[in-house]
């Protein structure tokens, strides 16, 4: 965003960049920048904390008044409290061990519905597929024999990637459906260490990397499992 900000400023638009990577802001020499010490993916710092978010915005927008010269980069002083683990947190739903993927998805459905009820939205829906169809598409990735994509504009490998994203969002919504505020690491630990879905995505990654299909290999290698969660071997 640093570069795009400078490109917009060069086209006559006053900009302020909120930056997560200070090094990039410095390299590009953003016109006005607020570096924030937050987790990647959280530019406003703290979910469900309007006061915290507003402080970030006031600091960023305030640079329109205080910055006097190009490449003014200011550091936001506050850490986001949600970076710390919530003591004793467990997901809102308890899964029986050893469930097949399709059964696990079904078991989480009531909790995911509770999330939608509580927060009035869902982040699931990139593929347009129903959750009941996910397990079939994902496990096809294990064999490398991906079915034709039912979604115009998405290749089978791209559908697999977005199906994995929908799956992760569904599990995240179910796990956080009781309104508790766990850290991202806690939710990730549960998903990648304790669920059939997490184990399935790890297996898909390995199968995709071994595939001779370039599209599947690229998706599997980089776009299914976060680098921090890759299981070696």
């Amino acid at each position: 965003m640093s570069a795009l900000g400078l490109m917009l400023e060069a086209r006559g638009i006053p900009t302020v960049v909120v930056g997560l990577i200070r090094l990039h802001m410095e390299k590009v020499k953003v016109p006005r920048g607020l570096w924030v010490p937050f987790e990647l993916g959280r530019p406003l710092g703290e979910p469900e904390d309007a006061a915290f978010q507003t402080r970030v915005l006031r600091a960023a927008l305030g640079l329109f008044a205080t910055a006097r010269a190009p490449s003014t980069i200011v550091d936001f002083a506050e850490e986001a409290p949600g970076r710390l683990p919530l003591p004793g947190w467990r997901p809102a739903v308890t899964l029986a061990p050893g469930l097949a993927l399709a059964d696990e998805i079904r078991a989480l459905a009531p909790a995911q519905a509770a999330h939608v009820q509580r927060r009035r939205r869902s982040t699931v829906g990139l593929t347009g597929l129903a959750p009941a169809d996910w397990a079939g598409h994902l496990t096809a990735g294990l064999s490398g024999a991906l079915p034709a994509s039912p979604r115009p504009g998405l290749s089978p490998a791209q559908l697999l990637k977005f199906c994995a994203d929908d799956l992760k969002a569904f599990y995240s919504e179910a796990a956080q459906s009781d309104g508790a505020r766990p850290s991202s690491r806690q939710v990730d630990d549960w998903f990648w260490n304790e669920t059939t879905a997490g184990r399935t995505l790890q297996a898909i990654r390995k199968a995709a990397l071994a595939s001779d299909q370039a599209g599947l290999k690229a998706v599997g290698g980089n776009l299914i499992v976060p680098g921090a969660r890759v299981v070696a071997g």
């Binding site: 959280r42 008044a65 776009l223």
Partner: protein
């Protein structure tokens, strides 16, 4: 957490090595006082409307996010798996702070909020986005935006 030392080693090295473009220019556009500025968000989260085709790897185009589009109709299609989305699951304002901007406008801290926000695929090399920058700038000017708030993920 986005201190480089806090990021897992593979992602950290990729971020350090990222070939950021350098520019010979240092533009700095003036504007009215903040309480008279109209603010628009430009997000790198590759946001789409529900039912739209996701951004794909290497996409250099942009989409618009109407300020009045319900949060329930906004999805994130960024291809990277190396940033947190659990916060986005809980609160759209973490990435697209439309409610917070509306509150700042209501109290008079900013002049107003644009009817349209913009979003791109943040993993695409910005050097491929010249036409997109032209189009976004034109859209911002057409709405009289005097403060573009660029938000990464």
């Amino acid at each position: 957490m986005a201190r480089l030392d806090d990021i897992n080693p593979a992602t950290r090295q990729r971020l350090i090595d990222l070939d950021c473009p350098s520019f010979d220019i240092q533009p700095f556009v003036d504007g009215p006082p903040l309480d008279r500025r109209k603010v628009a968000i430009v997000s790198s989260a590759a946001l789409i409307g529900r039912g739209e085709l996701p951004f794909l790897p290497g996409a250099a185009d942009f989409r618009t996010v109407p300020n009045d589009r319900p949060a329930s109709d906004i999805l994130m299609s960024h291809i990277s798996v190396n940033f947190d989305r659990h916060g986005w699951v809980r609160d759209p304002n973490l990435v697209l702070p439309r409610d917070r901007l509306a509150e700042l406008a209501a109290e008079g801290a900013i002049g107003g909020v644009a009817d349209t926000h913009f979003t791109v695929m943040g993993s695409t090399d910005p050097r491929e986005m010249t036409a997109t920058a032209d189009a976004i700038a034109a859209g911002l000017k057409a709405e009289g935006v005097t403060a573009a708030l660029l938000l990464p993920v």
